[in-house]
Symmetry: C2
Subunit: 214 residues, 2 copies
Amino acid sequence: MTSQAADGPDTVAATRRSKITPEREREFFDAVLEQIRECGYDSVTMEGVAASTRCSKSTLYRQWKTKPQFVAAALRASRRVRFAGIDTGSLAEDLRQAARAAGDWSVKDTRLMQALGHAVTADQELAQALREALILPEVAALREMLGRGVERGEVPADHPALEYVPAMLFGVLRVRPVLCGQYADSGYLVRFVEATVLPALGLTEDPGHRSRDD
Amino acid sequence: MTSQAADGPDTVAATRRSKITPEREREFFDAVLEQIRECGYDSVTMEGVAASTRCSKSTLYRQWKTKPQFVAAALRASRRVRFAGIDTGSLAEDLRQAARAAGDWSVKDTRLMQALGHAVTADQELAQALREALILPEVAALREMLGRGVERGEVPADHPALEYVPAMLFGVLRVRPVLCGQYADSGYLVRFVEATVLPALGLTEDPGHRSRDD
DNA sequence: GTGTACCGATACGCATGAGTACCGGTACAC
DNA sequence: GTGTACCGGTACTCATGCGTATCGGTACAC
């Protein structure tokens, strides 16, 4: 209970009272997220993280009060928008690119979400961190992409399928392992987008011509 | 192993050496699945199941060797096909009915799948039981439904979207909670089917007329 | 050089849960 | 009635993990 050591909950490097560099902190975060992907949230132990990063359990507990707070901090710190930068000028091509991009990180993020899926129902902070780190940024980027398509007149603004595009994409990412036993790769996702998302949005250039090449 | 006493791994009442009636067995299975939905697989304890069913831990361990075997047996015993019996003569209406039906059990089954999602990566028997109990029967029923539509000529047999329909439906079931914070209800699922699945299959009667009533 | 404060290591208390062992009660077979 | 075998209860062993406490080393401030 040191008084002024009340550092923010997620990062500690801001208060330079700690000798843990931001790079070192990243190692902790990467390690715990990786172990969660591997073994599930419940099976991850602070001891295991400490061992794999060759730090001491004390060090972790000095910076973060509890395991869920530690994990939540790790999630917040790895917030990234994978869909950022996709803007080809065509909504259909944007969506294909998004599918391709999703295939690249889908394994890691899908496993993480799967592993955290039930832990978040027990810890509110964890749930919020997961949403803000992995879900909302991607959904927002996707909606932006769709918004540009609407502005260009490629899709009517009130098209009923618009609001379901994120659910379609993230949904197929999430069920593919349980349906087929393997994670969705870029090829599968692109085919999915072309077979379902684009037609649902009315984006197939010539509906009579079926352009499958597999 | 033992020749005729080789009771199936999932039910024990077949060998009437046990005094546990099938109804009693169902109570055990219902209890453990319910607790898994509530607390997650790891947090479920044999002690908790025994307490909630007012039986003894010994009783459970006499019938099932380990916790994963017990859970796998419970899964196999609750195998049911929810989509069975849907056959309206129209694929579009079949799919709407399926969506409506899915809304009814989606909460229970989605929570169960979510809760088991990571445990199955560690236990092979559990994974197989989950697939055979909750996944494959529904997918098969769905594919049958689609097959009938193809036979009736409503959709060409090689329509590229056909193979993705199960992924779309189960996908949206699975991501809805994490996207919106609530489980998918029947209304949402029907709207989803009408906005995405039917158009992707080319099943919108008059493409120009947008039939939304919300 | 001296001191402060953080790091790593280790050991510990405490709780919890898997799976086992034992024991008395009882229902059913015969 | 007698015996068998299963049920429920409880106590036990063993392992594991959270979170805390303690201690020596050391880097950096001044």
